[in-house]
């Protein structure tokens, strides 16, 4: 629909609810996206992600076999160029935060309108971080939690710059990027970059933590991902 003259964005849909999966796939196709796969199970999706080469993976947070967090991790391991957009019905909770820490690029509620959803996929494809106010609140809380953690962790903890914190607070109280840009006299792009940075910091910190954990427990770094997914399976159960 926009001015993507070249090849259409390749999207993979992972959702166990058949009605939703079909509706989402149809909406995407009608909007000009190339839906390369629509799959109901996480494990199956991880098997085909290498072959289907999606640019964007739209994944439900609750899947019958593996959690959305593990899907996120698995997708990014198989195809680092892909961007994962998390879709969920239940609202913002710990599992959304876990998915973002695992590298998800954005999050949107299922109650969003079709236009909002398509816009979110489009923005995810172009490299934006798709935030809801709820996600911003979770991310703010997570940075505070990391900073006030045990002394040894506090040193390694990532911190938000004042500007990033200010912008996240604005997102969390319902302001759009455009409104924020207007208030702070910044470009729309700059606001987006700040928001994107906060997620990258969390993701990087999470990866560093996994590696540290693996080394401390006598596992080599390549086992870190597996350890991490086992750990998050615990929180998802």
């Amino acid at each position: 629909m926009t001015d993507q003259g070249e090849s259409p964005v390749r999207v993979m849909v992972i959702d166990d609810h058949p009605m939703w999966r079909d509706a989402v796939a149809r909406d995407l196709t009608e909007a000009g996206f190339d839906v390369v796969a629509a799959i109901g199970e996480g494990a199956q999706a991880l098997r085909v992600v290498g072959a289907t080469q999606p640019d964007v993976v739209v994944a439900d947070l609750r899947l019958p076999d593996v959690s959305g967090v593990e899907v996120t991790r698995g997708v990014l391991a198989a195809r680092p160029a892909a961007r994962v957009l998390i879709l969920s019905a239940s609202g913002e909770h710990q599992d959304v935060l876990d998915a973002v820490k695992a590298g998800a690029a954005g999050y949107i509620l299922k109650s969003a309108s079709r236009a909002e959803f398509l816009d979110a996929v489009r923005r995810t494809a172009s490299g934006d971080a798709v935030f809801t106010p709820g996600l911003a609140g979770l991310v703010l809380g997570e940075f505070r939690r990391l900073a006030s953690g045990p002394a040894t962790d506090g040193k390694h903890a990532p911190r938000l710059t004042d500007r990033e914190a200010e912008i996240l607070r604005m997102v969390a109280t319902g302001l759009s990027y455009r409104q924020i840009a207007g208030r702070l006299v910044l470009s729309h792009r700059t606001v987006q970059n700040h928001v994107q940075n906060t997620l990258s910091k969390l993701h990087l910190h999470n990866r560093a933590e996994l590696v540290r954990y693996a080394i401390e427990h006598g596992l080599d770094a390549s086992a870190a991902d597996a350890t991490g997914s086992a750990g998050s399976a615990g929180t998802g159960a």
Binding site: H17, A89, L109, G137, R169
Partner: protein, 382 residues
């Protein structure tokens, strides 16, 4: 198993202790015995029976009615054998029978196995044997302290039986509670799955309805309202105490309390972990937030969106209420406060000041209003 096992061990311990006592008495009261060696034979029999009962009563399968009856008969026989081994005169001066306190064994066993009534029945049977032994004629019955033994037996049967039933009931209650807990945990898990499915369907109906227009749009709107309501209900723990039970006594999770304000036009945004506040402080904060939301509805109109951001900053908790309404003209707030008209002054500022916190209000015409409440953790109340 459970609470019964210690009681049976106590019965066995009682028998061994009594056996030791009977042995001492036999050594000391040698003069009372006409056939002293035979008395030792009776004692040997008692020792053997103590070993047998200890062994058999140790497992639930051994605690049969036949075993209990045999126990009573054997003990009664040992008691009555006193008549054969002691001098006839010994009975009249109130000496102990050869079994001494060992005689209470079956009373305790019956009481533990079947409760007070059974314990008292066993006590009466053995008590009658004891009295028959001592008093060959009814006339001497109330002469000495001879009734003490049977009465003590009766009381022991009653008390131990009572304790045994109490233990059984406690065990049942504990088992029941464990079952209930397991069931409710499983139900919670199923409920989460079902809620998620229902939310998905409601969101889908809302979306399709809005696109179809007309009557379907109305259905979609209704589905949307229910979707928000259900999500709110889940977020606030379904109105149960669930979100609170992990918190230290007297503290509440501000997120769970404020989650009830969620609606189609109000979004509550919070960190993933509970935001703990002392109960009273949390409740006052909720009232202040409600006052702020009332203001939004009253002054900015029904359709105005509001966001409530809860932030946990270690020493203080911050709650920001922002709306996208028309905003308040500069000076109007202070004017209103001076007139005592606006709720902001009293319901919000007053409450938060009492908690030792601060309120800042930021508003520009056309840019909505932002009220930020900062509430200290260790509240310094005046």
């Amino acid at each position: 198993m459970g609470f019964q096992a210690p009681l049976w061990r106590a019965v066995a311990a009682y028998r061994f202790a009594s056996l030791a006592y009977a042995t001492i008495l036999l050594l000391v009261d040698r003069g009372n015995y006409a056939r002293w060696p035979w008395a030792w034979a009776v004692l040997a029999g008692m020792a053997a029976w103590t070993a047998v009962t200890t062994r058999i009563y140790a497992t639930p399968a051994g605690r049969t009615n036949i075993m209990l009856a045999t126990d009573l008969v054997v003990t009664a026989a040992a008691l009555l054998s006193t008549d054969l081994v002691q001098y006839g005169s010994a009975s009249y001066v109130g000496d102990m029978p050869v079994t001494a306190t060992w005689v209470a064994g079956p009373v305790l066993a019956w009481a533990v196995a079947a409760g007070r009534r059974a314990g008292m029945v066993a006590a009466i049977i053995l008590g009658v044997c004891d009295l028959v032994l001592v008093h060959h004629t009814f006339g001497h019955l109330f002469a000495g302290a001879d009734l003490n033994g049977p009465v003590l037996l009766l009381l022991a049967g009653w008390v131990v039986g009572y304790v045994s039933r109490l233990a059984a009931r406690a065990e049942y209650a504990l088992q029941h509670a464990t079952q209930v807990e397991a069931t409710s945990r499983e139900r919670d898990r199923i409920a989460r799955d079902i809620h998620d499915s229902v939310l998905q369907v409601l969101a889908l109906v809302q979306r399709r309805g809005a696109e179809a227009g007309g009557e379907a749009a109305e259905i979609g709107r209704l589905a949307g309202a229910q979707e928000t309501a259900l999500r709110t209900l889940i977020a606030s723990g379904g109105g149960q105490a669930a979100p609170f039970d992990r918190l230290p006594f007297g503290e509440l999770d501000l997120t769970a309390l404020l989650a009830r304000e969620n609606s189609a036009v109000v979004s509550v945004i919070a960190p993933a972990e509970p935001v703990r506040l002392a109960g009273e402080t949390a409740e006052q904060t909720v009232l202040a937030v409600r006052a702020a939301l009332d203001n939004v509805r009253r002054h900015a109109g029904e359709g105005t969106h509001a966001w409530i951001l809860i932030e946990d900053e270690d020493s203080l908790v911050s709650v920001t209420i922002r709306d996208d309404g028309p905003g308040i003209a500069p000076g109007r707030l202070t004017d209103a406060a001076a007139d005592g008209r606006l709720g902001v002054s009293h319901a919000i500022r007053g409450r938060i000041r009492d908690l030792g916190g601060t309120v800042s209000i930021d508003s520009d015409p056309g840019a909505g209003t932002e009220i930020r409440l900062r509430i200290p953790r260790a509240s310094e109340k005046a």
